[in-house]
């Protein structure tokens, strides 16, 4: 956990409403693990006041990247930053995805609450499901998983074709990639969760719940990727997802149905990102107790069994 008050922007990419910034920050890069995030100061003035949280999208020895969509004041200001300007960032923060390895010894010690991976993912198929900007942490995760010998298959969904700016980058890194768009303008026609469901049903040999007709009609060029991605038969050993709440909830239900371990990177409005303000609370089930836990400290990644989805929000907190 470091504060880097002046991380220079080495590279910037823009695709419509999406933006990627590559920042030089060796200390943060060194400790970063997939699923962790950074708190980025948007302005040195009191407006907008709070830092914004962003997943670590990629890292090298010296750099970290963030990938974000412009949704409000803060992200709009960030999208206007130019190469050479510096950003004040704090990271890496929170607990990341459970992978087979990776992360410095120190980083692991700092995370006593993190469950040890139940199994090595080496040689196993894993699903990475990203909706819109939710793809951000999955690129870093996918690379890490590949290093560990796992076979990540990335499901990448968006409203329309232009919501999939990272598709090319992912292909270039030879990820097995399945894309979906709500309007059918690219890949599977429908939600990312429906695409995952179709795929799981296919693996299970079941008739598909939502017959993914458009899937068959998908543009030729997306199919070869698909073909290449199924070297490994059977269900994935794990599902990792990040995206809109509704998408993640659906994926959780699917993972549950098929008994697949799943992890989700959740969002919450954050005051500090370092566990000091209790602002980012989210109802989390641990054992038979549901409590408001700090997403910034205990998460942002939680296991399927832990998350109390928005729909169930009216359940009483157990100790209240």
């Amino acid at each position: 956990m470091h504060k880097d008050p002046g991380a220079p922007i080495l590279r910037k990419e823009r695709w419509g409403d999406y933006c990627l910034l590559c920042l030089k920050s060796p200390a943060i890069a060194r400790e970063a693990r997939p699923g962790q995030f950074m708190m980025v100061r948007v302005s040195d003035q009191p407006y907008p006041l709070l830092r914004r949280p962003f997943s670590i999208h990629a890292r090298t020895r010296e750099t970290v990247e963030i990938f974000f969509s412009r949704v409000g004041l803060g992200t709009n200001i960030l999208a206007q930053k130019k190469t050479g300007e510096t950003l004040d960032i704090i990271g890496p923060l929170g607990k990341g995805f459970t992978t087979g390895g990776g992360g410095s010894k120190r980083a692991k010690e700092q995370e006593p609450g993190r469950l040890a991976p139940a199994e090595s993912l080496n040689g196993k198929k894993v699903f990475l499901v990203g909706g819109g900007r939710g793809i951000a942490p999955l690129y870093f995760l996918g690379l890490e998983l590949k290093k560990q010998g796992a076979v990540p298959i990335i499901f990448y969904g968006g409203k329309t074709k232009s919501d999939l700016p990272l598709a090319d980058r992912l292909k270039a890194h030879k990820f097995a990639l399945l894309v979906s768009t709500d309007d059918g303008s690219s890949g599977f026609h429908g939600f990312a969760s429906a695409m995952v469901e179709a795929e799981l049903n296919r693996v299970a040999g079941l008739p598909m719940a939502f017959p993914p007709l458009d899937w068959a009609d998908a543009p030729r060029k997306s199919r070869p990727v698909r073909a290449a991605s199924y070297a490994l038969a059977g269900f994935p050993a794990r599902v990792f997802a990040c995206g809109p709440e509704a998408m993640m909830r659906k994926i959780a239900a699917l993972a549950d149905r098929y008994g697949i371990a799943a992890e989700f990177s959740l969002e919450a409005i954050m005051g500090c990102g370092i566990g000091a303000c209790w602002g980012c609370a989210r109802k989390i089930r641990r054992g038979d107790k549901a409590e408001w836990l700090k997403v910034c400290q205990e998460g942002p990644v939680f296991k399927s069994s832990e998350v109390v989805w928005e729909e169930d929000k009216t359940n009483e907190v157990s100790d209240r």
């Binding site: 006041l49 000091a276 602002g279 408001w292």
Partner: protein, 306 residues
């Protein structure tokens, strides 16, 4: 180098900067970023006797130059605090102040009684002004009688100094502050957050699940400064000022207006190094102005019309 030390009478501080309750966790969260021993003191997150779940999320909403929170005093309770946190804080050479909460007057006393048996605490800050725990932002600090009753009970119970934290959501701050003073409070701190709300126009829902929340940050600084000045002008006990302090200059405004110390709240969230930077900026200012003792500027506001 300027002397920044402050003597509150019941407590000597290395410098006048305390970290404000609720924005500094239990203190240890900031150890990766700053040397906690450089602080004048740490006011830890509000503690009830038992652990407390807090309010449902969303708990935060930003506003222009401000933050609205409705945390609702989530916390681990005095026992867990005393066992898990206090031993790690007690070794620090900085004043540890516990922000004391209660649903009843008796609970305040219970918390104090329990903590009185622990070592390593410099003082209590009675949080009678949190707007996030009762309907409509109600809290004891809205009434002189309720304030007087809790402070008196706390003072009778406590073997340590008691600071009473006041609310800005009142018609007459002097009257409330005097009630605290008369009941024996060793100091008052103000302000807690300003009762506020925000609406999401798209969903037509409050942006905080709790509907109301407390406004903090630079937006409220002019309000806080006014209240601190009003209280400091009329009390004999020390006033600790807070509300929107982001810089050394902000802190100096409060000292000049009569505060003997300040607390830094929301700024810690924005910048975990803020409290130390603020101390540094005050020191630099003293240097520049050739002020030997920072305490000499307390209450020096010149209100004579020019």
């Amino acid at each position: 180098m300027a002397d920044l030390s402050i003597d509150l009478g019941f407590l000597k501080l290395r410098n006048p900067v305390l970290a404000a309750s609720g924005t500094f966790g239990y203190g240890l969260e900031f150890a990766p970023f700053i040397d906690l021993e450089r602080l004048g003191g740490i006011v830890v997150k509000g503690l009830y006797f038992y652990a407390r779940p807090g309010n449902p999320p969303p708990r935060l909403a930003e506003s222009p130059s401000g933050l609205i929170n409705s945390i609702g005093l989530q916390g681990i309770g005095v026992k867990a605090f005393s066992q898990e946190i206090l031993p790690r804080l007690a070794g620090l050479r900085t004043a540890v102040i516990v922000n004391v909460c209660g649903s009843t007057n008796e609970e305040y006393a219970q918390v104090i009684d329990y903590l009185d048996r622990q070592e390593g605490i410099a003082a209590y800050e009675l949080n009678i002004s949190c707007p996030n725990v009762e309907q409509d932002g109600l809290c004891p600090a809205l009434s002189p009688e309720a304030t007087h009753a809790i402070v008196r009970l706390a003072k009778r119970t406590s073997r340590r100094p008691v600071i009473t934290k006041l609310s800005p959501n009142v018609t007459d701050i002097v009257c409330i502050a005097k009630a605290a003073e008369e009941a024996g409070s060793d100091a008052v701190s103000l302000i807690n957050t300003v009762l506020a709300m925000a609406v999401d126009v798209e969903t037509r829902r409050p942006r905080l699940a709790n509907v109301f929340g407390g406004l903090s940050g630079p937006a409220i600084k002019p309000i806080a400064l006014r209240l601190v000045y009003q209280a400091a002008s009329r009390l004999k006990i020390p006033v600790i000022g807070l509300g929107g302090i982001m810089s050394g200059r902000d802190a100096l405004e409060f000292l000049i207006a009569g505060a003997m110390a300040v607390e830094v709240g929301t700024a810690n969230l924005v910048d975990p190094e803020a409290s130390i930077r603020i101390i540094q900026e005050m020191e630099d200012w003293c240097e520049e102005k050739k002020i030997k003792k920072l305490k000499d500027i307390i209450g020096t506001l010149n209100v004579a019309s020019p």
